[in-house]
Symmetry: C2
Subunit: 338 residues, 2 copies
């Protein structure tokens, strides 16, 4: 099949690779209808994460089930499914408390920017979309494989509750989905930290009531001004750098929690400052499967349209251009169709 | 008045110092009926925290109000009161959400191991004990000025809920009060990490269902064994060292929160491990005033008897021996009577 492979810093190619095949009788193979590029794919793209030359890349997709293992019961060939980037059995002790991202049988989508993907634990992982969805829904369904549940996890980890003032640090697709999640959870004021006009527009459409374009100390000052010096009831950290985490901790009011979902890169948590202000952190890799049934209903009912984060759609052949567009911030998030 | 002063490493003296006097019309002066030595006093005693030579020390006490400022309304001369170690106005935005330890008018008891203390924000800080309590109640009332609310804050920050399996790291007075708090909050299994027999006995009396004498990796292995490899639903970190924090994070199940209340000394939070396991932390200095009315009722009704952590009572003159006894672990916590 054709799939995206990574070969070095800013060296992304569409290659011919072997089709994935069932390895266990709980597996399924899904034909990718739409995949996409994740902000986290830019870490290896930029040479900031180690890579294995020639490996496939891409962990988000939706598609049609084309093959199932002998013990798969709840998913059938022909089903249209959302594929959570993190695969889980949905029955282990961690899954049972909503921590599917630490499943005892954890797996990952590894060729989502390709034609087919292997799904481990198909019954536990996949969520079926009723009927055959209209292609106009593809972007929002695709967002459910990672960014929307990840933004939701930030909000849930930060314990956003009705009436809260919430700050969202990061205006990538996950941060924007975090704004949408905070709004759905009843936040009264949502302050989005963003200095890119197209992203500010989506943040506002998703429910941000205020946009702060400053960074670092200036951003913290602006939030202090907006909150009468008190700080935010909940903070979503959707970047993963030391600077963004420090900003997130600074704008949180005492007793608040920073929900963080960006894979930490060089983050040093200032434990004494956290202690003295009683500001906690919670989060990690999102348990997509935990949130997916609810989020799917919200998409199908029209309550949320997270697909708006896709501002560029390219045929799979142009995947390299998709990476460049995101790297250079010409695009927020790129959808790829095989 | 006579008060305890610190002069260097392991150099504690009872000295003659000026009586405290009212500085603001919201202040009060309390005559100390009983004070005590805190585990955190051992940091400067051992030379691990900077000191100012000759300063008074001691932040826990109960006593009788002997003087009040002109604007004090809710507290009267003659009242028997518990003095939270952290003073607060109980009206600022932080106090109103239960974060009195980050009050905009924060103050501290600084001569609790002496005859009199100055209390800032008397109306916000002090909680009156009805009538004249029997001296048999002094230890439990005294525990309410710091260790019991601090243990409670660990449990509240860790979000202990009925039915939980809870691990308590640290068998000092705060850790033991954490066991008691977890039991009051309905924990089903409470695993106390303790290797000192007298402390194990109190932990068990306070509600610990299991005692683990191992430390570090061995302790984590023992907890894993007890929890079928899953980990604890909530963890209380009541020490403040890097080793104890790492143990606390290790024994927490994915999705759990470590509630920490020991002032961090050399703690380096392993953010990537926390992220990959979705284990959060919350806590800090305890907002004593937030918990005090409820805890006082529990003491007066006999539901809790946190005073059991005092296993040595000395006249104030022997304060130096009290420090030595705690430093050498001959005593868990020492009560001092002027």
């Amino acid at each position: 099949m054709r799939a995206t492979t990574i070969h070095g810093t800013r060296d992304i190619r569409l290659s011919e690779v072997p089709n994935p095949s069932l390895r266990r009788d709980t597996d399924a193979i899904v034909r990718v209808v739409a995949g996409c590029i994740c902000g986290s794919d830019l870490w290896p793209y930029r040479g900031e994460n180690p890579i294995t030359v020639g490996n496939t890349i891409g962990h988000e997709c939706i598609g049609e089930v084309v093959e199932i293992g002998a013990s798969v019961r709840d998913i059938a060939i022909g089903d249209f499914v959302v594929v959570p980037f993190d695969h889980c059995d949905n029955t282990c002790p961690h899954c049972r408390v909503g921590m599917q991202s630490v499943c005892e049988n954890l797996g990952f989508t590894v060729s989502g920017q390709g034609e087919f993907v292997l799904v481990n634990q198909a019954d536990g992982t996949l969520v079926k979309v009723p009927g055959v969805p209209d292609s106009g829904l593809y972007p929002s369904l695709l967002a459910l494989s990672d960014v929307m549940p990840t933004g939701w996890h930030a909000a849930a980890s930060a314990r956003v509750k009705p009436g809260d003032t919430v700050v969202v640090v990061g205006d990538g697709a996950v941060g924007l989905c975090g704004v949408l999640a905070a709004a759905q959870l009843g936040a009264e004021r949502i302050i989005a930290l963003s200095r890119h006009e197209p992203r500010q527009r989506i943040a506002t459409a998703f429910g941000a009531t205020h946009v702060v374009a400053e960074r670092g100390k200036q951003a913290a000052d602006a939030v202090a001004e907006l909150t009468d010096g008190v700080g935010a009831d909940a903070v979503l950290e959707c970047v993963g750098t030391d600077e963004s985490m420090r900003t997130a901790l600074k704008v949180a009011r005492p007793g608040a929690t920073v929900g963080y979902v960006g894979v930490p890169h060089g983050v040093q948590l200032p434990v004494n400052a956290m202690f003295s202000r009683n500001v906690g952190i919670a989060g990690g890799m999102a348990p997509v499967r935990a949130y997916l049934p609810d989020l799917l209903q919200r998409v199908l009912s029209g309550a949320i349209d997270p697909g708006r984060v896709f501002d560029l759609s390219l045929p799979l052949e142009q995947v390299a251009e998709g990476y460049a567009a995101m790297d250079e911030r010409r695009a927020i998030k790129v959808m790829l169709t095989p």
